[in-house]
Amino acid sequence: MILIMKTITKKQSWNSYQKEIANDNLYYARSCIRQNFFPASEHMFLHILQKELGKNVFDDPNHTTCTGIGYHADVVLFDTIQTVIARHFALMTEAGLEHMAISCVTSFGLYTEVLHTWEHYPEQLEKIRDFLYKATKKEFNLPKSIAHTSDVIYSLRDEIAQKAQHTLINKHTGKPLRAVEHIGCHYAKMFPSKGVGGAEFPQVLAGMIESWGGEVVDYPERRHCCGFGFRNYLVQANRGYSMSNSKKKFESMEVYKPDFILTNCPGCSMFMDKWQYTIAEIDGKTYDSYGKGIPVLTYEELTGLVLGYNPWDLGLQMHQVQSESLLDKMGISYDPHLKYTDKHGNQLPKPVSPLHLTQT
């Protein structure tokens, strides 16, 4: 009886961490690295919101990096990053918008940190207003709300479920697909009240998975960092620290036989995907039964699959771990001959197949 009560309490405890999520009339803040590693994800976010759901989202070509990687690597000062973020607020103000949707978890953490700083130290806000005006002649209003783009998709998950072409049900067994959800540390570990579900029980990705028919795997190292850690990977000799964090997670999740990993952070998506290749090359070890690895998806890619988009248009072939095993389980048809072709149907070079991580 006590055990049952404890389970209910744990499952429902995230309800105390809720936040306002604007999902229309948004100023879109892009990520630096997502556009390189998972090039279709941000495009798909805009496409899904603007074309599928009829929302107003402004993708501003004048928006720049938030300088978060430099900040966390100690080469960009806090005053500098505050001024850069203030400029983004100025661009939002000029566009006549009041709500921000931020694509990167690092950026989301920093926007939150900067707003928090200004709330507690108003003199710092005045100083940054002065810096920005002297540098650019720009002025700004503070946003009424900021949300990570996974928050936005989370808030629209039921609307998306109604338009779903595919669900997260294994077509061969009829059972829900088993998903590992991995939340970027800077989403809620720094400011728990700013994430849906807080730091311990973030609901943002779990909510999507459950709404679309899947089952979330609760494994021991679920909340462990992927190891991105900025300085851990920026110096080549230190990358073993980064990789060992991911390895610890893979070893912990392996016994639960997950069908895929879902992430909301650029670094987590990249490393949980690419470290599977590196670990396979170094240790000869893969974490699924077939030597193919566990597919890692961004939430936009998963949304695209649920909505019936062509997996090659979603850029799944750009991942290190290939996703055909997941597509087969979801019953999604695809043409393997079109996997490496451009939009005109011309053949593109095929990547070299690794030694240990089998490519389908």
Binding site: Q236, A237, N238, R239, G240, Y241, M243, S244, K247, K248, E251, T278, I279, E281, I282, D283
Partner: protein
């Protein structure tokens, strides 16, 4: 080092179910007073070797119980067997005998290193 210029590290998680208990069992069997250690650290506080080196009897005690033998092997020869630790031990443990048993155990027992 492989082609990447870095490698994976073993996890530092200690799994209590797989700890090698041969050495601690051997010591307690031959010096039962060791089982009464309360890890107060008096032995380390009075140790001449600890004053000058990284040697730490209290830490050795913890490492023996966790089955972490690599560092013990590197450290154990720093003890000069002066016996000051025995004089201050509130539990009257024959720490000098414990040190000798560790040395003997490391060479005679088949333990995971």
């Amino acid at each position: 080092m492989n082609k990447f210029g870095f490698s994976t590290h073993a996890s530092r998680v200690i799994d209590y179910e797989t700890i090698d208990t041969k050495l601690i069992s051997y010591i307690v069997e031959n010096e039962p007073s060791f089982a009464s250690c309360i890890s107060c650290g008096s032995c380390t506080a009075t140790c001449s070797a600890a004053n000058l080196t990284y040697f730490n009897i209290r830490r050795l005690n913890v490492q023996i119980r966790l089955g972490e033998f690599e560092e013990i092997q590197q450290e154990i020869d720093k003890c000069m067997l002066c016996g000051k630790c025995m004089l201050v031990c509130p539990r009257g443990i024959n720490t000098r005998n414990v040190i000798m048993l560790i040395k003997r155990g490391l060479t005679t027992l088949e333990i995971k290193k």
